[in-house]
Amino acid sequence: MLTMQDVSKSFLGVRVLHGVSLDLEPGEVHALVGENGAGKSTLMKVLAGEYAPDEGTITLDGTVHAFSHPVQAQAAGIGLIHQEFALLPHRTVAENVFLGREPVRRGFVDRRAMERRTAELLAELDETGITPRTLVKDLSVARQQTVEIVKALAASDVRVLVMDEPTAPLADHEVELLYALIRRLAARGIGILYISHRLREVFDLSRRITVLKDGRKVATLTTADTTADEVVRAMVGRELGSYYPPRAGPEEIGEPLLTTAGAGNERLAGIDLTLRAGEVTGVAGLQGSGRTSLVRALFGAAPFTRGHMTVTGRALRPASPRQAIRGGIALVTEDRKGEGLALRQSVRDNALLVTRAVHGEGAQAGGVAGLLERVNLRSRGHDQEVQYLSGGNQQKVVIAKWLAAGPRVLLFDEPTRGVDVGAKAAIHTLVRELARDGMAVLIVSSELPELIGMSDRILVMSDGTLAGELPAGAGEEDIMRLATASDATPEGSAA
């Protein structure tokens, strides 16, 4: 149905795609994998008309296309769901879904038709939590993604749907919903190009897998005939070996560095936890269970309003990030671009931001080199603006920024979201090393395997409280049981 032939593309004279070819059949889920910066998104943007290719052709149902604008691609039946959402938060769902192609009746936008059609599409997807008049800003991330999908479906007779890391912002249970949705779409004969860094999803969903590396196609594999190791080898070009570094032995776990007792705020209640030196504590939970709220509270960004908290033995319930940082706490946020980095500043300036802001030791340029080496940053130099780095390397800059401040307690919120397998492994190793160095580490992750692989202990959250604690090596079922424990509460009290 769809063929991309020998597509090449350069930015600023740097070649990003080298003659990549790809084909897609109706109803097929075709996965596209590769390290950060391998060119996956670029290839898809070429397909969706956002970039014009330097060379190569796109053939859809026998017609050769050269899109110069996304609209043309949409009209031809190609929908793209972006890695970053393209929704307008202050507009309604219906307005977003029909943006750029509002139905017009007698010169005016036919709002009713728009809302009716949106409602129909939502119903088709079994989505009951959204009404066409809801403002997008009032929706959860997962629902926003559904709106993106509805938007793509409403565009035209969609033949090809491209999903660029659709699960990155989702929690596990939402991923299941997405799976179901994707299968339904595929059953309708829509071809789906699926990009993800999570191999498990790739194997769950796809019929074929195309691996990109450094802008070149390495292989197209049939999912049924391959293994995860083989795919990883193709992506990375080497064996990764064991995914996770070894856990801490009991002798490596030291004194408590951070404790809370009965802490809470608007979103959290009864938080009692202890983070110890040398230990990696994992936090699991469903979307909206309060994990992010927890780390933000510990970090003083959305502070606790109740309860007691100590950091390195002293009473400190930070009221602002600044206080937390002074107390030795660091937070790697889940939203790297929005909250972690000043994208137009250099690697050096980002790495030094915390020290400059809090400790006022700006000029220690020598230290930066050491730090960036420690996190194994790959960049074109310390003056490169971080916006031009790949996701994994951006995350390394964020970590370096915190290490520069010499923290004792490190909080990670979704540290490997949108990071490729290679960089992921590097981050895992780094996290473990930091714990070895005597820091207390807390990791929030929606990827259960990662959480299980990394944690010495797992806390499970549910509805803003700590629902339980599990030892290292607990299984996914145990976690899910605790996470969904509130299901047991009667209907009435939740409403």
Binding site: E50, H69, P70, V71, Q74, L80, H82, F85, A86, L87, L88, P89, H90, R91, E95, L99, G100, R101, E102, V104, G107, F108, V109, R111, T128, G129, I130, T131, R133, T134, L135, D138, L139, S140, A142, R143, K151, H173, E174, E176, L177, E266, R267, A269, G270, L286, Q287, G288, S289, D463, G464, T465, T484, S486, D487, T489, S493, A494
Partner: protein
């Protein structure tokens, strides 16, 4: 199953009755009209205490009449600000518009004059739009540059009031129906057209989208450049209407008709008072009209109280800042209310 359940509170909370959300007191549009009403009331009391009469017909006429010119400009300005742009050239365009109108009417017909002014406005708006989108010059600088260009042209070609407006056309500026000046109907008509365009047409939807997130809009197939250009043209046409109104009222064209009244900054102030975000994407014409009315009522009160004109500026400055500070508050309050609601839910669960 689980997913739907755990998420329900998040999405259910903000779900409002359709349409109900548009009438909230915290909505700047409603807020500014309420503020205008409140200021009227306060003005009434203060002026009465001062021994004057505020609630008179002639005073209402004055307030309405004084809203027309600024109203027309501000309505146009809302269109550009909605798309995330800005027009600082409006003042000079008004001046030039009155001159062109009056001169054309002197020699030709009213119809030709109206067409000439609108054509001129459209051309200037188009140029602004093209500079902003094509040359990628920031709107602030682009329209400031355009203002300089127009200024030079005016100063080079005119040495004072010029042209002559026939009595028939002057009726636009002077006639009333009852105590309502007919020019108010011009304002209402223009505002209604702009309201329809922004709220009910594709162009309007695209204007909101472009102002809200240009990148997202472009990816969705909105021709953002074209939208910005249209917005600039619309704005300029409104300014043209203001120029025609002023020409009818002044009976001649005046090279400083727009600049001495500071229509550029005043119109932006009115738009912002009306709750339109300077960054674009939120707000609209209805609020702007409220903002204009508010300024007009204030002026009238100052007039009644014979407040020193310099002191007026002080009050105006304070009002503008205070109003926008108030708009910034409800968002925080709303967020807080949401937090509290969530906390209650949690309490129920625990």
């Amino acid at each position: 199953m689980t997913a739907v359940r755990t998420e329900a509170p998040v999405s259910a909370a903000p779900r409002r009755l359709p349409g109900a959300g548009r009438l909230k007191v915290t909505d700047p549009v409603v807020g500014v009209w309420l503020a205008a009403a409140a200021v009227t009331l306060i003005g009434w009391i203060v002026v009465t205490i001062d021994g004057g009469q505020f609630m008179t017909q002639s005073n209402f006429t004055g307030i309405l009449q004084n809203s027309v010119a600024l109203g027309l400009v501000a309505v146009g300005q809302s269109a550009v600000i909605l798309t995330g742009s800005l027009d600082l050239s409006v003042a000079y365009l008004i001046s030039l518009g009155t001159l062109v109108a009056a001169e054309t009417m002197e020699g030709g017909s009213v119809v030709t004059a109206v067409l000439a002014v609108l054509a001129l406005s459209a051309a200037v708006g188009l140029a602004n739009g093209l500079i902003v989108t094509g040359l990628k010059v920031n709107a602030f600088i682009a329209t400031l540059g355009m203002a300089f260009i127009l200024r030079g042209y005016i100063e080079d070609n005119y040495t004072g009031p010029a042209g002559d407006v026939p009595a028939s056309f002057q009726r636009l500026g002077y006639d009333r129906i009852g105590f309502i000046p007919i020019s108010v109907f011009l304002l209402i008509a223009v505002a209604a057209v702009l309201w329809l365009i922004t709220k009910r047409t594709r162009l309007g939807h695209h204007m909101y989208a472009t102002g809200g997130d240009e990148h997202a809009a472009r990816l969705s197939g909105v021709r953002t450049r074209r939208t910005v250009i249209y917005a600039h043209v619309l704005c300029a046409l409104c300014v043209g209407a203001a120029a025609l109104f002023l020409a009818s009222r002044l009976g001649a064209g005046a090279p400083w008709a727009g600049t001495e009244a500071r229509y550029d900054l005043d119109s932006i102030a009115a738009v912002v008072l009306g709750g339109t975000a300077l960054a674009g994407g939120r707000g609209g014409v209805a609020g702007t009209l409220g903002g204009v009315l508010l300024l007009s009522v204030l002026d009238s009160i100052f007039n009644q109280l014979s407040v020193d004109p310099f002191f007026k500026n002080v009050v105006r400055g304070v009002v503008i800042i205070a109003a926008v500070a108030l708009y910034a508050r409800p968002f925080r309050r709303r967020a807080k209310a949401r937090d509290e609601a969530r906390a209650k839910e949690k309490g129920a669960l625990a």
